[in-house]
């Protein structure tokens, strides 16, 4: 089931009545293809949870429309949309067993959709099998681990065979090890069921690792929609570039003159097709190549050996981000305390952004 958002906007009246309304979601237009897993990514307060609530019907949009397939669901209450929702804290009913929790949504079905008790039990059993908790059907939520509770919550959302599955920060209450495991699990379940799935997260790594598409948001405005690798390799603006990647991108204030990119005095890269101007320069940590006579001179502050790679903390007068960090292969021997270190740059790891709009400025390397 594809999901289409059309000019979707949600305003909240400001608590302080003298101030303007808060626009949580500002004129969203995008289409989620059928059967894909979509990550809504952004810092807290960017409107991603509001978007989720709009899609599932817990909030009504100020303007705009939502379509599931060809159906306009904008004015439908949540129960008539056919959505399943998984909450950050799972929201399992503490007084019910796993089985009762999973069956609960089915008991609300009315009219022709009404199921017999036996059918409900079968459906609950199937959903539990899918998330591999069919051994725990008679436990109560308090008797289960966080990961197991998460699975119950997913089973409960899946049991009524929703057209769209929504996950609100599904992994943030799990510890690091479970998080890795559970995100694979979510991926597997989504592939098996083929249900269009939208999940909200503030963790870029989580979004990158399992999404088919990432929607990056900031202040209620969509910044970029693309495949994960594309978003990383080809960010639309400085915000997206800064938000994705660990360690984060290094930002410098530089200038272009006569087709050359300058960081301070150093002409670090040939950039064609860019007019002379001051601009922001973003360099991914893996874009630094140590070179005896490299054009970029930095001071060497610290070296952190991480096994496969080496992380180098650098200093440079033109740098805006602090600390500056480069990830280099451990083949390069970097002796700490030598003072200066010189790099060449990989052109595809260097991005230029307009000083005012922070929009990406394309260039051709050599």
């Amino acid at each position: 089931m594809k999901v289409v958002l059309q000019n979707l906007t949600k305003r909240f009246p400001n608590r302080n009545k003298k101030l303007d309304d808060v626009i949580a979601v500002n004129n969203f237009n995008f289409e989620i293809p059928d059967g894909k897993l979509i990550g809504l990514l952004g810092p807290s307060g960017c409107g991603k949870s509001t978007t989720l609530n709009l899609i599932c019907g817990l909030e009504m949009p100020t303007s705009g429309k939502i379509f599931f397939g060809e159906d306009d669901v904008t004015d439908l209450p949540p129960e008539n949309r056919g959505v399943g929702l998984v909450f950050q804290n799972y929201a399992l009913y503490p007084h019910m067993t796993v089985r009762q929790n999973i069956m609960f949504p089915l008991q609300n079905l009315k009219g022709k959709d009404k199921l017999s008790k036996a059918e409900m039990l079968t459906r609950a059993e199937e959903a539990a099998k899918l998330v591999q908790i069919d051994q725990l059907m008679d436990r109560k939520p308090a008797e289960m681990s966080g990961g197991q509770q998460q699975r119950v919550a997913i089973a409960r959302a899946l049991v009524k065979m929703p057209r769209v599955l929504l996950l609100d920060e599904p992994l943030s209450n799990l510890d690091a090890r479970l998080r890795l495991q559970t995100r694979e699990e979510i991926r597997r379940i989504q592939r098996n069921t083929g249900i269009t799935t939208i999940f909200v997260t503030h963790d870029q790594e989580e979004a990158m690792s399992i999404s088919d598409l990432i929607v990056v948001m900031k202040d209620g405005i969509i910044q970029q929609i693309d495949q994960p690798q594309k978003v990383y390799d080809d960010p639309k603006n400085l915000f997206v570039a800064k938000f994705l990647g660990t360690p984060p991108i290094n930002v410098f204030k530089g200038k272009v003159a006569a087709g050359k990119l300058y960081l301070g005095e150093d002409a670090v890269l040939q950039v064609r097709g860019v007019s002379d101007q001051e601009l922001w320069v973003g360099i991914r940590p893996e874009g630094f190549v140590p070179q005896q006579a490299g054009p970029l001179r930095c001071s060497l502050k610290a070296v952190e050996v991480m096994g496969r790679d080496t992380s180098v903390v650098l200093g440079n007068e033109t740098a805006v981000s602090d600390p500056l960090r480069a990830i280099i292969s451990s083949e390069y021997q970097v002796a700490p305390g030598t003072g200066e270190i010189r790099f060449a740059l990989k052109p595809n790891k260097v991005f230029l952004f307009d000083l005012k709009t922070e929009e990406r400025i394309p260039f051709q390397a050599e």
Binding site: L58, P94, P105
Partner: protein
């Protein structure tokens, strides 16, 4: 918690006060228990034996239950009737109050509507109003509506008896706090599944809030069982008395003066149900009372 707190407590250090502490605590326990012993003792003495004792004895060698049969058989003071009336009053009042306060608490805790905060603040400010201030008009209201026992109709009389005690702001407040502590996500999850508000209230909120509900029920039952002033105001016919009024009537009518053991038997009968209830639900009752119950 299992560490020996007594060892670290401020009174324990230095001088060994423990024996003195125990003696004093036991003394107070005796003071508390003695009236109960005395009522039980007096109720077990035969009338003749009791009346013969100018100086009451501290025990009896010939306990008898005749006072209890007398208390229940008395035509003028139908103790069984009092108990039944009180039971009816307690059950109906508590049940209807629970319905009213659960609905109100749910509206305040989960439903969004204009003026919610203002209305709730108004509710809280009403908590300050003492019963004595409103009982005057309520008496007149109930009398005007013909809901006292003048007409001799049990239904009318019970209606008049029950109506004013069906809402309690304090319990609405207590329940609302409890409802609010249930994560809002549960409500949203239920909404997404198409659960109606009422079903959510009955199937999710009430079961989760059971401890608080039970506490409120118990506190209300105690309050109903002991209520005296309001029933006294609107009741004149003995067949409609509640236990408190009945006991008071036994005392006033002279029956009690003539037959103290029978009166004490009635006192024991009236006291036992609540004491049993207390011993069964000790922790719940004490927790409930410490959360803000006051006597009366």
């Amino acid at each position: 918690m299992t560490t020996n707190k007594a060892e670290q407590s401020p009174l324990r250090r230095g001088l060994n006060l423990k024996p003195v502490t125990y003696i004093l605590l036991t003394l107070w326990a005796l003071i508390v228990l003695f009236p109960f012993y005395w009522m039980l003792l007096s109720s077990l003495k035969s009338t003749a034996a009791y009346n013969a004792e100018m100086t009451p004895s501290f025990f009896t060698l010939h306990p008898t239950l005749e006072n209890y049969t007398a208390a229940f058989r008395s035509q003028d003071e139908p103790l069984g009737r009092y108990l039944l009336n009180t039971l009816i009053f307690t059950v109906i009042t508590t049940a209807s109050m629970m319905v009213v306060i659960v609905l109100a608490a749910f509206a305040f805790a989960r439903l969004k509507f204009r003026g919610r905060n203002v209305l709730f603040a108004l509710f809280l400010s009403l908590m300050m109003i003492p019963n004595e201030l409103v009982i005057i008009t309520n008496f007149v209201t109930v009398k005007t509506l013909g809901l006292t026992d003048d007409a001799g109709s049990a239904i009318r009389h019970f209606t008049g008896l029950i109506l004013p005690s069906i809402t309690s702001i304090f319990y609405i407040y207590l329940l609302k706090e409890n409802f609010e502590s249930i994560p809002e996500e549960l409500y949203k999850a239920a909404k997404v599944d198409g659960t109606s508000d009422l079903k959510y209230l009955l199937k999710v909120m009430l079961p989760i809030s059971r401890p608080t509900i039970v506490t409120i029920i118990i506190l209300k039952v105690i309050e109903c069982w002991n209520s005296y002033v309001w029933p006294r105001l609107i009741t004149t016919k003995p067949q409609f008395f509640l236990v408190s009024n009945g006991i008071q009537n036994i005392r006033e009518s002279g029956a009690g003066r003539d037959n103290v053991p029978a009166m004490m038997a009635a006192v024991v009968v009236v006291s036992v149900p609540l004491i049993v209830l207390f011993l069964l639900f000790r922790d719940k009752i004490m927790a409930g009372v410490s959360r803000g119950g006051t006597k009366g």
